[in-house]
């Protein structure tokens, strides 16, 4: 079913919207949740919660990219679950590794109080990156995809992916430092 039709089902409060979403994007959302949690049971719950969260948002929302809309909800739900004191349980997931890597980009000397400004800066930073590097960075830290899987998707060696990530992180750190964020 086309995305517009699925959205229309949500708007018409037709419960088949959830079935159609599950059919089309279940696997996609599961892979995101699994990257973060590395747990079959919790992944299933997260994905299931995704459709109900979407049910509560549409209407009034009418997303322009439905996959990303679902993916973002799943990501947020999974990270919430990860943070609810259960991070040890999900040791095999990518979240701890991603957090560790991102710690290279940002200091802890001053707390971030303006998330909107950080978002704006980050969008501008990402927008200026070459497409390949941006994709690699977001596959890692948006989708929290393992390096190996990124390498397969982008037809790169694992070493090349790690090298790109390291360079982009350094560039981001310089950018944040220049703006005094986290310093």
């Amino acid at each position: 079913m086309e995305d517009d039709n699925i959205i229309e089902l949500y708007w018409q409060r037709d419960e088949s919207a959830i079935r159609e979403s599950e059919m089309k994007y279940g696997g996609y959302c599961s892979s995101i949740a699994d990257n973060i949690l590395h747990s079959v049971e919790d992944t299933e719950e997260c994905v299931s919660d995704t459709w109900f969260r979407a049910w509560n948002i549409m209407p009034p929302d009418r997303p322009s990219r439905l996959a990303l809309f679902f993916g973002r909800i799943t990501r947020n739900l999974a990270i919430d679950r990860y943070r609810r004191g259960r991070s040890q349980k999900y040791g095999g997931g990518q979240t701890a590794l991603c957090l560790e890597e991102l710690a290279e980009c940002i200091g802890e000397s001053s707390p971030i109080d303006d998330r909107l400004a950080l978002r704006e800066l980050l969008n501008s930073f990402l927008g200026a990156l070459p497409e390949k590097n941006r994709d690699v960075f977001l596959l890692r830290y948006w989708y929290m995809m393992p390096v190996k899987e990124i390498a397969v998707r982008k037809a790169l060696s694992e070493g090349a992916v790690k090298m790109i990530l390291q360079r982009v992180r350094k560039k981001l750190r310089d950018c944040l430092e220049k703006e005094g964020i986290g310093v």
């Binding site: 990270i79 980009c105 990402l126 200026a128 070459p130 596959l139 790169l156 360079r167 560039k171």
Partner: protein, 489 residues
């Protein structure tokens, strides 16, 4: 909450236009494969001839002297192929989206790409130094240079030399010893090898021996093995041997350099001729709409030329420096072509000698001054070639002894190597880009007065005056770099 946690959250909130859509990635790739129309083809040939002392260098004969290639094999000739280069397996890229075939193709590709992390060490300095030398003095002509082809030819030359002669080559290639160079050259070869029916990047080499001159076959075989090279031997006075070499060169460059090759004839006195080629072709990942192509003037230094300009609107990364602006055109699974337009008043040669530009040319995408912008792109179709005599340039880069029959040390090649010298070293390169169809589009000249101020969100990138291009491999290695002074020769 820690700052890295907040950063993770904010990344999740990134502009959705920037987040890659992983649900459609593979499907899109297959669709593009079917509909692509643009072609970028390039070839370079490096040719080195070793002569004993006292012989005149190889001179191309007049066109009337050129022998026509025979149409059938001539078994009565005493010409042998001692070793034929065996290239790695490379399955065809699956056009039909077959998952099993795709996996097989991908695995083969990954196997070749899996090289030591430092395999490109030294190449950047070699690229910078040699590019500055070989892209100067073009005047109003085009100039194209393949650093990779020269790197391979020099690597092979290092194998057959020793002492100071070898040291000078190693210094230019920024390698500590022959083992390191051998290993890195081999990695560069493998990491950049592509021949899957959709894209091609093949570095081919061959060694042509004189059968009356005894060579150390261990050295020859080691060289051939490490550089995926074929070995032939025969009588260089035999025209068929020359023709065979021409045929090998034509095959290895897909016929792109036929005019040049047809004028080459083997020197009867040569000890060894070494040929190194790069054969590259790829398809634009985002093809130009053929209906947008239109004729327009290209402002060459010696007058305007009418050219066909390919036009497109792209949301792409725009790069800029204090004296140039640049965009990149990705090729399907085969790297990218990068186009650099000097600011008004700056020549392409000045650009090549600018450290900031070299930094950009060597840097695969992490150049600092860049932004995502809407770009009105206007690129002339071009077909440019040049023939560079490498001798003077190599000497200025410190590779001197190899050209001197008194100083050159070719002992690894033969016990009786006194008086041998490199008599001729040339590189002929041709690069062309094109697409089909045409329709008028308005063109706007881009004017950037000096300074490296951040550009607007919409940029007119019109290559209607001499510019610089680079073809960079998928692994980030500069394959070709050139100056286009006249898009059509």
């Amino acid at each position: 909450m820690k700052n890295n946690d907040i950063l993770l959250d904010v990344i999740g909130d990134a502009d959705e236009k920037l987040v890659p859509d992983i649900t459609e990635e593979k499907k899109k790739s297959h669709l593009k494969w079917i509909t692509l129309g643009g072609v970028c083809a390039a070839a370079a040939i490096g040719c080195a001839v070793l002569l004993p002392k006292g012989n005149a260098p190889l001179t191309p004969p007049a066109p009337s002297q050129v022998t026509t290639a025979p149409t059938a094999a001539q078994p009565d000739r005493d010409i042998y192929c001692l070793a034929l280069a065996a290239y790695p397996d490379m399955p065809h890229y699956p056009e039909d989206g077959n998952d099993i075939a795709y996996k097989k193709w991908h695995e083969a590709r990954m196997k070749l790409r899996d090289q030591p992390a430092d395999y490109m060490n030294g190449f950047d300095t070699f690229f910078e130094n040699s590019t500055k030398v070989f892209l100067t003095d073009a005047g109003s002509d085009n100039r194209v240079y393949s650093p990779l082809s020269l790197y391979m030819a020099l690597g092979m030359s290092a194998e057959i030399t020793d002492g100071t002669t070898r040291k000078q080559i190693l210094d230019l290639l920024c390698q500590d010893d022959i083992q390191t160079l051998r290993s890195r050259a081999n990695s560069i070869w493998e990491a950049n090898y592509t021949d899957d029916g959709m894209a091609r990047c093949v570095l081919a080499s061959s060694l042509w021996l004189n059968d009356s001159y005894p060579c150390n076959m261990d050295t020859v075989r080691t060289t051939a093995k490490n550089y995926y090279s074929s070995i032939y031997h025969g009588d260089p006075a035999d025209e068929f041997y020359s023709t065979m070499m021409q045929n090998w060169m034509n095959n290895s460059t897909d016929g792109l350099l036929t005019d040049y090759i047809s004028h080459l004839k083997m020197d009867p006195q040569m000890t060894l001729t070494l040929a190194s080629t790069v054969n590259y072709s790829g398809k634009w990942r985002d093809q130009f709409n053929k209906e947008m192509t239109a004729p327009a003037s290209f402002h060459a230094s010696d007058g305007d030329i009418q050219c066909e300009f390919m036009n497109a609107e792209r949301l792409t990364t725009y790069f800029w420096g204090s004296s140039f602006g640049a965009v990149s055109l990705p090729l399907e699974n085969n790297g990218q072509m990068r186009l650099l337009l000097p600011d008004e008043g700056i020549s392409p040669e000045e650009l090549i000698n600018d450290g900031e530009v070299i930094d950009y040319l060597m840097n695969n995408g992490l150049y600092s001054s860049s932004k995502l912008a809407s770009v009105s792109l206007s690129v002339p179709k071009f077909d440019v070639s040049s023939d560079i005599d490498l001798k003077e340039g190599l000497e200025s880069l410190g590779v001197r002894d190899i050209f001197s029959s008194d100083k050159a040390d070719f002992t690894p090649l033969s016990e009786n190597s006194d008086g041998i010298a490199l008599s001729e070293a040339r590189q002929d390169t041709r690069v062309l880009i094109d697409e089909e169809g045409c329709k008028a589009a308005s063109l706007t000249a881009m004017v950037y007065a000096g300074g490296a101020a951040e550009p607007e969100d919409h940029i007119d990138f019109v290559l209607d005056r001499p510019f610089v291009f680079e073809i960079m491999s998928e692994t980030g290695l500069p394959l070709f770099v050139g100056i286009v002074n006249r898009p059509v020769q």
